[in-house]
């Protein structure tokens, strides 16, 4: 087990190297020249002369791999260069907003777990009952609803009509409710369905049948055997959904005017603020990889088939 964790931890290094290389290269392959982007952001007309000076300043005149090596050297020390827009340290800027984004994402993740697993199990255990139909309806609606539109509906109902929740900002604990619900809706719906399907699949296992004929009670079969088995695919899916959530957080932050990376990143995207975009990609992907690593470890821990290499 420890060997597996160490192996996975070491694997992060080449993965992050590949990620950084792709991020760096693809940006260079893009139609917009970084020097030009820099000048546009500084409101300097991109004359030939200015471009030349900027290229030298940003080190863009060096060979490609030297540039990458230099950038990587900085990135390892968390120095991603200065933002073209603000002329401040890109990493510092992002880190100012990043904790809020992480908090929203993790809170939404918790909501997803709290909502989807019990609902999915309820639907499976009471298959074809009214409760199951409601569960199915919920996941059907959740999967098809655009999250930002759902957010607006929440604002309209709870802030404008009922006046019980603040429509934007993060001034109190109640400010978190609508953003987190908005962000969690879609993943909750998808995971409810996955939990339900997985639970139903395992209810039909021969082992369940065997336990039942030999006198084991339904609730202990469901609550222990079917539960643990059916959670395995759910755990993997939660890992994938962390990616959806952290991406969706950008939308939700813009929608509810939250001080997360969202607004900042959207403006750096429209303004081709490359250092910020690069840093953003590395940060988000890094978090995604780490969360998935943790999830993989939990999965292996729970699944002896992998643990004992069968």
């Amino acid at each position: 087990m420890i060997k597996y964790i160490v192996k996975r931890l070491l694997l992060i290094i080449p993965i992050m190297l590949a990620v950084s290389f792709i991020v760096f290269t693809v940006l260079r392959l893009g139609p917009v020249d970084p020097a030009q982007a820099y000048l546009l952001n500084s409101r300097i007309p991109p004359t030939e002369e200015a471009l030349k000076v900027t290229r030298a300043e940003l080190g863009l005149d060096k060979p490609f791999f030297t540039q990458y090596a230099l950038w990587l050297k900085g990135a390892v020390k968390l120095d991603f260069g200065l933002s073209y827009m603000t002329k401040r340290d890109a990493f510092g800027d992002l880190m100012y907003y990043f904790p809020t984004t992480l908090k929203i994402t993790f809170l939404a993740m918790i909501i997803v777990i709290i909502v989807s697993i019990p609902l999915g199990i309820l639907g499976a255990v009471k298959k074809d009952s009214t409760a199951d139909k409601l569960v199915k309806l919920f996941s059907f609606i959740g999967v098809s609803t655009p999250s930002f539109w759902f957010g607006f509906l929440l604002i309209y109902v709870f802030s404008l009509k009922l006046n019980i929740l603040p429509p934007f900002g993060l001034d109190s604990i109640s400010s978190w409710i609508m953003p987190v619900l908005t962000l969690g809706l879609m993943s909750s719906a998808i995971n409810t369905r996955i939990t339900r399907t997985s639970f139903l699949e395992h209810i039909n296992n021969r082992s369940v049948w065997y336990f039942k004929v030999n006198g084991m009670k339904r609730h202990s079969i469901m609550g222990k055997y079917v539960l643990k088995n059916s959670m395995l695919p759910v755990i993997t899916s939660l890992g994938m959904h962390f990616g959806e959530l952290i991406g969706g957080a950008v939308v939700v932050e813009v929608l509810f005017a939250l001080p997360g990376v969202g607004r900042y990143v959207v403006s750096s995207i429209t303004n081709h603020d490359y250092p910020v975009i690069q840093c953003f990609m590395i940060l988000m992907t890094g978090v995604f990889i780490i969360v998935n690593l943790i999830i993989d470890i939990i999965y292996v821990y729970l699944n002896p088939k992998i643990k004992y290499g069968a």
Binding site: V26, F148, M281
Partner: protein, 279 residues
Amino acid sequence: MKDKELIILFSLLAIIILSALFAPIIAPYNPYDADLTNKFAPAGIQHILGTDHLGRDVFSRIIYGTRMSLISVLATILIVLILSLIVGSIAGFRGGLFDSILMRICDVFLTFPTFILALFFIGVLGVGLINVIIAIALTHWAWYARIVRSIVLETKQKNYVTAAKCLGSSRFKIVLKHIMPKVLSQVIILATLDLGHMMLHVAGLSFLGLGVQAPTAEWGVMINDAAPYIREHPELMLYPGICIFITVAVFNSIGEKLKDKYEKTQDFNSNESEICVKN
């Protein structure tokens, strides 16, 4: 009961496709004709769903919006299918070094969170609908390529393919007659299931102002336009949202139905008589 559901689904799908195709005929007004003297007109005989903050006819904009949504999502899925079929089948058939290089590339694409990667590609390519289509296609193809590869690998070892080989069918013929239909049928089902999800991504990017730009009649843009007036005119936001919801729901349900049907035929093929009974 089942048939009723299918009839409703397909009539909804027909309505969506028809309004996209015949938008200029169906829409009573030009969706871009602003009339500032007639803004926020209530729904009525003149304007079925009223007018927006620039006095444009909402119903006409919704109809034209269907076009945008369908075109963008179909273009995306087309790119995804072409890219993944090429990469996935090459990897599956050739195997060896080719396979491992292509699959490593897929792995890298799958390392990124989808929406974040889409944001990144837009950051590289710039804002706009075409770039959104490319970005979403680039973020989804790797997953499909892996699936295509695994279906190819699986089918390659099936008895009937071996039999065809033994009977002297040419390689090309085997691929065309036995393997491709199987790959296509499965991938198209997955794509149908994914269409709705992609549409939501497109709408989300439009909402952020990174996709379709402001005057265009597109549902995400319409929601964004209506946002400042949400207190007085919430219905302006309601209509396009419901349209996105219904379209996505229709695609999801059809995909679900196709999948059920496909799985049933699969079950039938591999049916084993067993004591274990569903309880």
